[in-house]
């Protein structure tokens, strides 16, 4: 096991490096925007009437400190990292004075709940159906599903989302088309709120699953149709290995490795938010937060969301790398 331990340490170090570089890039990009948050705040305050120049100078100083813009760029950079390590992204500009971290903490459960659910559902259903369709190539309903997936797959996501909205929101208005829950329901762990969240998530979830399932289905089907021509599958077939065992341990098991990697990548991508979904359905998640932040020039917020996304993606890739020897015993750690 020392080889594996060394590998894990090396991989962990890589993870730290990737996150560090990623956040630096995000820092640079957000700081070269032409929007000066301090001047914007001041102009927002002063537009209501006369303020004395001394007061404005005071305000500028304290705002600069809040936004981490005090001193030259080296000092700014060091204080940025000091605050990041304490998980502090400063106050949000667009929702001043709420801190960025609390905005993210409020949006994250929405996005995570929606996307984790839809990703897992479309991954498992898509792969299962894809494997069955690849193995039972003459089954009619699976063939029909294949045609459906093939037809639906290239349709741009927003078309699907808008069509669902039109069908279930206007033609047959049975589902809410916007928001994460009903406005008049108290948020918390009560039945009414949970039901409302569920009700509101049907359309966004459905649209994501409809689009997501197709690529998993098609990918798995072609993987499986390759695998069933492999010698070990043909041999197991003429050897009379039980059908369920064939399907599970011979076919799906061998096709799964690339799909598991794909799943990890999309689970990591959850922290990006689903920008288009959340915008179309007015869903209060990370994607909405990110887009609003960009529009408002709220770089603290953008940096916060981006950092979460960077950490999310790198972390899930790290995890998949660490457990890969379990998925495929042929993957050996170089000693």
């Amino acid at each position: 096991m020392p080889a594996y331990f060394n590998f894990a340490i090396k991989r962990l170090w890589q993870f730290v490096l990737v996150v560090f570089i990623g956040i630096n890039i995000a820092y640079v990009i957000t700081h070269v925007t032409p929007i000066d948050p301090v001047e914007q705040s001041i102009s927002a305050v002063t537009s209501f009437g006369n303020t004395s120049p001394e007061a404005i100078a005071d305000m500028r100083r304290s705002l600069q400190e809040l936004y981490g813009l005090k001193g030259d760029w080296i000092e700014q950079y060091i204080s940025f990292w000091r605050r990041i390590l304490q998980a502090d992204f400063g106050p949000s500009l667009s929702a001043f004075p709420a801190p960025v971290t609390s905005l993210i903490a409020r949006a994250l459960p929405w996005t995570f709940g929606l996307l984790a659910f839809t990703t897992l559902v479309s991954w498992s259903v898509g792969n299962l159906l894809g494997a069955l369709a690849g193995y039972y190539r003459n089954n009619r309903s699976l063939k029909f599903f294949g045609v459906l997936a093939m037809a639906l797959h290239p349709v741009p996501y927003y078309i699907v989302a808008l069509s669902l909205m039109i069908v279930f929101g206007f033609i047959w208005p049975v589902l809410p088309i916007t928001g994460g829950s009903a406005m008049d329901v108290q948020q918390g762990w009560n039945w009414q709120f949970v039901a409302s969240v569920f009700h509101h998530s049907v359309l966004p979830a459905l649209s994501l699953i409809m689009i997501g399932i197709g690529s998993w289905f098609l990918g798995m089907r072609s993987l499986v149709s390759n695998i069933i021509t492999e010698d070990y599958v043909v041999y197991a077939e003429i050897g009379g290995v039980a059908q369920s065992r064939m399907m599970g341990s011979y076919i799906i098991r061998n096709a799964l490795a690339p799909q598991v990697t794909g799943l990890a990548m999309s689970l990591g991508g959850i922290f990006n938010g689903a920008v288009i979904t959340e915008k179309i359905f007015g869903y209060p998640g990370l994607g909405t937060l990110l887009v609003d932040g960009v529009y408002a020039g709220d770089y603290g917020l953008v940096l916060g969301v981006t950092s979460i996304a960077i950490i999310g993606v790198s972390l899930s890739v790290l995890v998949i790398d660490l457990i890969y020897p379990l998925i495929d015993p042929r993957v050996q750690v170089a000693s």
Binding site: E230, D231, Y232, V234, Y235, A236, I238, G239, G240, V241, A242, R245, S249, Y250, R253, N254, D328, P329, R330
Partner: protein, 331 residues
């Protein structure tokens, strides 16, 4: 020989049929082949590449998938109900005989073991249902059987990629023989191995076959292997069986001109005569020559060979040949 043959192949025909864009192609890869395999006998099939050896195997084993189609004839195993081919047999019936009566050692045995499964699980997948008993009984049986093939019980914990080529081949032979089947189909089981391992593996097949009294249908293009291993031999050329008989008879007195060339091309210790190859190439089976398929390359070809296809005729005890030019052409 009065014993009932375990496998009777009777005028078996299987063709590849395909039709793309209106172009119809029919390749007679197995054309009117008949032979018997007796119990406790190793029957060898020889022939060059693309002579239809593997297709014949597949047809006998019932592995007929498009574009291959069964045109006629039958391959009857004695443990099957009369008048049934494996192809199209009742799946429950097939499940009963597979591995317990009939097993396979395949071409490219390197890849027949599931790369993501331990050898122990593979044995269980194939054989547990036929052997029955508790898990520990099965384990003991497996270990005993492996030791017969000089395999350490530790291979059960290994994944296929952790074994060497020779070991993997021995594991497949162990897997194919653990249920003590009556009949084993072996398709080029030693082709990918170097000669040292080949010798060892052939010896194992031989000894385990002798011990269990199974019959083996053994396919290889390697005449040396046939000489060393098989009891009977069938020579295939371009989808047809051209000669069949006891291996010793065929090596000592080959009758068909193709077989004669095949045997004479083998190197012999101490013989320094230059070997001559046959002129020409094997025919394209999509468009086989008329009459005898060997006539364009045959030194003895006469007019009848170009028009009429020779039938298999008995020329001596258990020695049949399909050639117009062979003596005794009075039928």
């Amino acid at each position: 020989m009065t014993t009932q043959p375990i496998l009777r192949v009777d005028h078996l025909k299987a063709h590849f049929r395909s039709s793309y864009f209106g172009v119809y192609r029919e390749v007679p890869a197995v054309d009117d082949i008949s032979f018997d395999v007796a119990p406790n006998e190793i029957f060898g099939l020889a022939g060059e590449s693309s002579s239809g050896k593997t297709t014949l195997m597949k047809t006998i084993a019932g592995l007929i998938t498009p574009p291959l189609e069964l045109i006629g004839g039958k391959a009857q195993f004695s443990f099957m109900p009369p008048e049934t081919n494996l192809y199209g047999a009742d799946p429950a019936q097939l499940a009963r005989i597979r591995w317990s009566k009939l097993s396979y050692i395949m071409q490219g045995s390197m890849n027949v073991l599931n790369p993501l499964r331990q050898i122990r699980s593979i044995f269980r997948d194939f054989a547990a249902v036929h052997i029955g008993g508790s898990n520990s009984d099965f384990e003991t049986k497996t270990v005993n059987h492996l030791s017969r093939l000089r395999l350490d019980p530790s291979v059960l914990d290994a994944y296929p990629h952790e074994l060497s080529g020779g070991m993997r081949q021995r594991v497949t032979i162990a897997l194919a023989t653990i249920c003590r089947p009556d009949f084993i189909i072996a398709d080029e089981p030693t082709t990918a191995l170097d000669v040292i391992v080949q010798k060892e593996v052939l010896g194992m097949i031989r000894s385990i076959q002798r011990e269990m009294g199974s019959s083996v249908l053994f396919v290889t293009h390697d005449m040396g292997v046939h000489a060393a291993l098989t009891d009977k031999l069938g020579i295939m050329y371009a989808g047809c069986l051209v000669e069949a008989g006891r291996t010793a008879d065929i090596f000592n007195a080959p009758q068909h001109p193709y077989t004669r060339h095949l045997i004479h091309s083998l190197p012999r210790i101490g013989d320094t005569v230059q070997r001559t190859g046959l002129t020409g190439t094997p025919p394209n089976l999509a468009n086989p020559p008329s009459g005898c398929r060997f006539h364009p390359r045959c030194p003895l070809a006469s007019d009848i060979c170009r028009t009429e296809r020779p039938m298999m005729r008995q020329i001596a005890t258990e020695h049949r040949v399909a050639c117009h030019a062979v003596a005794g052409d009075d039928a």
